[in-house]
């Protein structure tokens, strides 16, 4: 049986891939791994295509049973991984024999730990993606979070027997993005836009200078922040598009940064959008982390995104050499 069984779930775990782009106009959110780079790293470690579905485990704490010989890899939030009683390293391919028990213990830093499986997790895609959006009941297994007893169909196990990849044990892979380097306070760089020019001067100034903290209400949809209230001076707005990283100011004045499972439209004033790389860092931040905002021009934002993507691609190509060498 080519499946992985969910033996025990912790707080929350869902299936995610690169998301469901192109459907915002129909009210369907993008979804996808909050820390997309971490999931891509885990997939590349196994020779999977970047868009393969893996597990997104929140604050970790999850047990799995593997029903065939395969390979798995963990990236993202640092968590102890134990296979058949032996502690393993994150950020490298791990051979797993049929019948093995995988324990993902609670993470020590970050929020989202990703587990990729050789060949990907092959549930039937919904609208072109396996990403779970619990609110809409899309993707994953019946659109729901994973629960104990779920059987996840995994890709072909051909050629991924532990023996075939014993070379990995001796080979030290290149550095992989594990815990992101996260200075505190975390500075979120954003491109001003939407109602930025329409709000009060004091609102713009406060956003630029105040320090906020991540609240416990953070989830895949949005990260509500605590801190000084901002008075936008705006009343009701006509609903319009949101985007990844939108900084919404609801009536209570506490900024909310929208993430992957955001609603596609909103009626609250928006100050602009945090660049994607900083959205991933914010998503990985735990409640209590201090947050600053810094506005950047579109030119600077383009450069930051380009550099970041170049850096990520260099990492991913280094992981590909793993496969060429084996």
């Amino acid at each position: 049986m080519t499946t992985i069984e969910v033996a025990k779930v912790g707080l929350l775990a869902t299936l995610q891939d690169a998301g469901r782009p192109g459907l915002l106009g129909q009210g369907i959110t993008n979804g996808g791994a909050v820390d997309g780079f971490a999931l891509r790293c885990a997939n590349r470690l196994l020779g999977n295509p970047d868009n393969s579905a893996g597990l997104e485990i929140v604050l970790a704490g999850m047990d799995l049973r593997v029903h065939c010989d395969t390979l798995v890899a963990f990236c993202g939030a640092t968590a102890p991984v134990i296979i058949n009683g032996d502690a393993q390293l994150m950020g490298r391919p791990l051979p797993v024999p049929a019948g093995a028990q995988i324990e993902v213990r609670p993470s020590s830093a970050g929020t989202y730990t990703y587990m990729a499986v050789a060949g990907g997790i092959n549930v039937v895609p919904t609208l072109g993606s396996r990403s779970t959006v619990i609110r809409e009941g899309l993707g994953g297994l019946d659109g729901q979070a994973l629960s104990t007893g779920d059987q996840l169909p995994i890709g072909s196990c051909d050629g991924t027997s532990p023996a075939a990849h014993s070379a990995f044990r001796a080979f030290v892979p290149p550095p992989v993005e594990g815990p992101r380097e996260m200075p505190e306070p975390l500075t979120l760089r954003f491109v001003p836009g939407f109602q930025y020019d329409d709000v009060t001067e004091s609102c713009r100034e406060k956003l630029a200078t105040a320090t906020f903290t991540v609240t416990g209400a953070a989830n895949r949809m949005a990260i509500p922040l605590e801190g000084d209230a901002l008075d936008t001076g705006l009343s009701q707005l006509w609903s319009e598009a949101t985007c990844l990283g939108s900084i919404q100011i609801p009536p209570n004045g506490k900024p909310i940064v929208l993430l992957n499972d955001r609603q596609t439209m909103g009626g609250y004033p928006q100050m602009g959008a945090v660049i994607p790389q900083d959205c991933a860092r914010l998503g990985q931040s735990r409640p209590g982390v201090a947050i600053n905002f810094r506005s950047v021009s579109v030119t600077e934002a383009d450069q930051l995104v380009w550099l970041s993507e170049h850096y990520e691609e260099t990492h991913l190509q280094a992981l590909d050499t793993l496969w060429r060498r084996s």
């Binding site: 129909q26 369907i28 491109v191 939407f194 609903s239 319009e240 939108s246 439209m265 660049i275």
Partner: protein
């Protein structure tokens, strides 16, 4: 007059100066069509709001500046053009059983429940925007006497198919969700169906009217209580 500003690193927000109207929606729809034609593959997604069109582009295919140049070359767009969307008739079982706020709406608006039904079902509505949830469409404008604020606190659960009012807007809730609009009836149609392409029944630019039906007819049409 159309203005543009960034919506993050891969989005462009185009806003219309005029107040929302079917004409503004029509001009935004036409602008979207022109942009998609001029830059095939460059526009990867777009969202229409009441006064805005937000397009998301693939920076590997087109730059922000070139896209903005195209928008500017298209110039100020007229908002007096007619809408060319589909006409869709939506059956509704209006009653106090199917719409728990019907009596309260009538009282607030100082008319009878029958008047609420009569006014709501005699208007042709413009689909201004799609969002909030898949298949949810903001329809307007409701007749002036039916103007009513949202509930102070949203309900945790609004039944799927609920036909609702808020301000000068009306909508059908496609699925069970939280909601703060006033409920006046139930629609038996599926507003969002993954088996259909596209899955949403109503698209921006469509013109919608509501037709009163009985409880029996609601059940015949597949309505679920």
């Amino acid at each position: 007059m159309m203005r543009w500003s960034p919506a993050g690193v891969t989005g462009l927000r185009l806003s219309h100066d005029d107040a929302p109207s079917p004409g503004v929606t029509a001009s935004l729809l036409r602008l979207r069509q022109l942009l998609v034609e001029k830059h095939p593959g460059g526009i990867v997604d777009s969202v229409l709001g009441y006064q805005t069109l937000t397009v998301f582009f693939d920076p590997a295919v087109i730059t922000r500046d070139r896209l903005a140049d195209t928008v500017e070359s298209l110039g100020a767009d007229r908002s007096d053009v007619p809408l060319s969307g589909r006409r869709i008739e939506v059956p509704v079982w209006y009653s106090e059983e199917s719409g728990i706020d019907l009596a309260a709406v009538a009282e607030y608006c100082r008319v009878s429940a029958d008047d609420v039904v009569e006014m709501h079902s005699s208007e042709v509505y413009n689909a201004y925007a799609t969002g909030f949830a898949p298949g949810f469409c903001y329809l307007g404008d409701t007749p002036e006497p039916l103007t009513i604020p949202r509930l102070d606190a949203p309900r945790r659960e609004v039944p799927a198919g609920s036909v609702a009012l808020a301000d000068r807007q009306t909508a059908v809730y496609p699925s069970v969700s939280p909601g703060g609009w006033r409920l006046i009836g139930l629609c038996p149609l599926k507003l969002f169906d993954l088996g259909q392409s596209p899955p949403g029944l109503i698209a921006v630019g469509d013109q919608i009217s509501f037709r009163p039906i009985s409880r029996d007819r609601f059940l015949e049409l597949g309505g679920i209580l």
